[in-house]
Subunit: 394 residues, 2 copies
């Protein structure tokens, strides 16, 4: 079995590549280094330096004997995207890379993944919309034309749903209106431009799926936390990137780093914002289980990829407790909310589908937080306090 | 009052520019000549040659004394889009054009408007997604940053709703689910890529509207028919473009031309596809009435811009009857549906909002069809039968 991982240099991409490789799959890892370049451009810092994708693939091969093939190119460009399925590399190809064959599964992470980045200013908004929509659309056409039976596993986000005043189902809802009934995509209304591009992705893929009988799974994931996975524990240079800044750092990763750095935990507004969270180890299980269970042709399968829900206040308090055990005194600082979002709302998302496929959750506990603290504090001297908060507003 | 018309060289753009100008508004007409260039590139023919936007503005000025200022540039590019609101023209500006001042109203037609174009192949799909989303997004940010109190009147499409099995409301629906309630955008599920980009536009603008208190009206328009408007009747060189081909021609305009050319009316499949239709004269009324009635800041107002509904079979029969009166013998040819769409479905869209604002409908009748036939047959020798049907499939 052959899997293409698109966005393989990202926070989830590289661990996913190792996970499939470890399971015996042929893995082709594709990226244009968008994320690491953006981190450099915006000077957000990373907790530790990141070897290139090729260097990590080489190390992985030396340690395990499994080969991960690496392709560097921008698949927002349709000709480059299509070359993944034909091997015919277009003119703008820096390095000769051989054709790795048609995949059975395509994992699509190849998007700009940050809400604050998407709202830094109009330029970054344009980059986000252009990149995310072009990649998804050009990929959809490439699959339709060149690899129509492949299973496309797309990373969506729980943020597509926003915080409605009704229970959030897994992607679909039956509506009865004036005595008639139909089934629709669950209504979606996101609180950032980035999250809105994910709504648009879902609309695109649902159009393509039902029109051309594609097989697509859309994974509505909540914020991920964590560093190590079982694969990366073999060598620290196999670790995925770790951001703790306001732009690319997810909240739990940020809070842990702030606790270690002696930087008060920044809670936006009342802190009653509830979200669904997931450990990076469970992301890998979820993506793999989803990949192994393709929907019928023409069906868009949607899972809510979270394991538990927390409010920001609860996360801050849990971080405080865990950090105290490690000897850190942590304060919590409620600041004026720089975002337009509900700070106190109903939130009841269903998330049974992936558990039914056999995913075994790692829950967030003081112990698991303490474990993350022990890893992050090894790099304590690298933490830059100046990048933690920049006050990006919308 | 000052209105920016974006996409002013298009089928609706130019008549809208004249309509506002006639009403005494200062009009700035903006286009990048996408539509006429695409017609040339794809060799689809037009019923008669089209003077440039500048030539038409000059003629309009000579006839009425009203000035329509013309700006040629591609507003998918953020710097060019923003220059409309600052007057600071970026480097890629061919002709010096002075700043026309901030508008009170912006009418946004600046999109690739054809479903078959969007699905010709992956290249045209990429062009459609990139153009339509970038224009809407960059315009939204330009308005937010530079002209936040302006009223943005956006052309959407009834095609966003598709053909659901429930009544179609004007943009919004109250949903009760498991004992709880909320209000959402009406569920949307379109039958082409082009129509899907319009769904995405609505999602984008709803995000911007509620986040930054913009004023946006989204007009869900059905297929438009017609040629002359009251303004264009002053001189035939003021007429808007007229396409009768499969890519850019709307169904009634195509049927009338086919009847005159002795080309059987091509009905896709069973012909039970129902849609809402509108005369081009009513489009102008609707856009104007909508412009005059801005929503409160932070509200997205949605109108369903149609005057009546017909099935394709009914349109074919009406064309046949009207053409018979003009001496044409017309046959109807049911062909295998080249599209994936329901051919027999429930369809009950609400469309009271614009009537409540005072729009006075022109309905489709044998007489109004006969009038169109009399205009189109003046150009009978220009009609190219080879461009009427190309068999574009999806």
């Amino acid at each position: 079995m052959h899997v293409l991982i698109l966005g393989a240099d990202g926070y989830l991409g590289w661990p996913t590549a190792m996970y499939f490789s470890q399971k015996g799959w042929n893995v082709t890892a594709v990226d244009n280094y968008f994320r690491r370049n953006a981190c450099t451009e915006l000077d957000v810092g990373m907790l530790y330096p990141l070897p290139s994708l090729q260097e990590r693939a080489q190390l992985w091969y030396e340690l395990t004997g499994h080969e991960i093939k690496v392709i560097i190119g921008d698949i927002a460009e349709p000709e480059i995207c299509r070359s993944l399925f034909t091997g015919t590399r277009p003119y703008n190809w820096a390095k000769d890379t051989s054709f790795t064959g048609l995949p059975e599964v395509i994992v699509h992470y190849a998007e700009q993944p940050s809400a604050p980045y998407s709202l830094l200013n109009y330029h970054y908004a344009d980059v986000t919309v252009t990149n995310n929509l072009r990649v998804t659309n050009n990929l959809m056409f490439a699959v339709r034309d060149l690899c129509p039976t492949a299973h496309l596993v797309k990373l969506g986000t729980m943020g597509e749903y926003g915080t409605p005043n009704i229970d959030i189902e897994e992607g679909w809802i039956d509506i009865e209106h004036k005595g008639r009934k139909d089934t629709f995509l669950f209504p979606r209304q996101a609180s950032s431009l980035y999250h809105t591009t994910k709504i648009m992705d879902t609309d695109l893929l649902w159009f393509g799926t039902r029109t051309w009988n594609l097989r697509v799974t859309d994974l509505m994931q909540g914020p991920v936390y964590g560093i190590d996975t079982y694969e990366s524990e073999q060598n620290e240079r196999l670790r995925t990137l770790f951001n703790y800044d306001e732009i690319f750092g997810t909240v739990i990763n940020r809070f842990i780093t702030q606790a270690i750095a002696g930087y008060p935990l920044t809670v936006y507004g009342k802190g009653g914002q509830q979200r669904g969270y997931i450990n990076i180890k469970d992301t890998l299980q979820c993506v793999y289980k989803a990949a192994e269970n393709p929907p019928d042709a023409g069906r868009l399968k949607i899972y809510n990829q979270i394991m538990e829900t927390y409010s920001v206040n609860e996360l801050a308090e849990l971080t405080q407790k865990a950090a105290r055990k490690a000897g850190y005194k942590v304060t919590i600082n409620h600041i004026d909310n720089p975002r337009k979002e509900a700070e106190d709302h109903y939130y009841n998302p269903q998330h049974q589908g992936l558990l039914d496929l056999g995913v075994l959750p790692h829950y967030l506990t003081e112990e698991s937080m303490l474990e993350m603290i022990r890893t992050v504090e090894k790099f304590r001297k690298n933490i830059r306090k100046d990048v933690i908060f920049r006050g990006i507003k919308w």
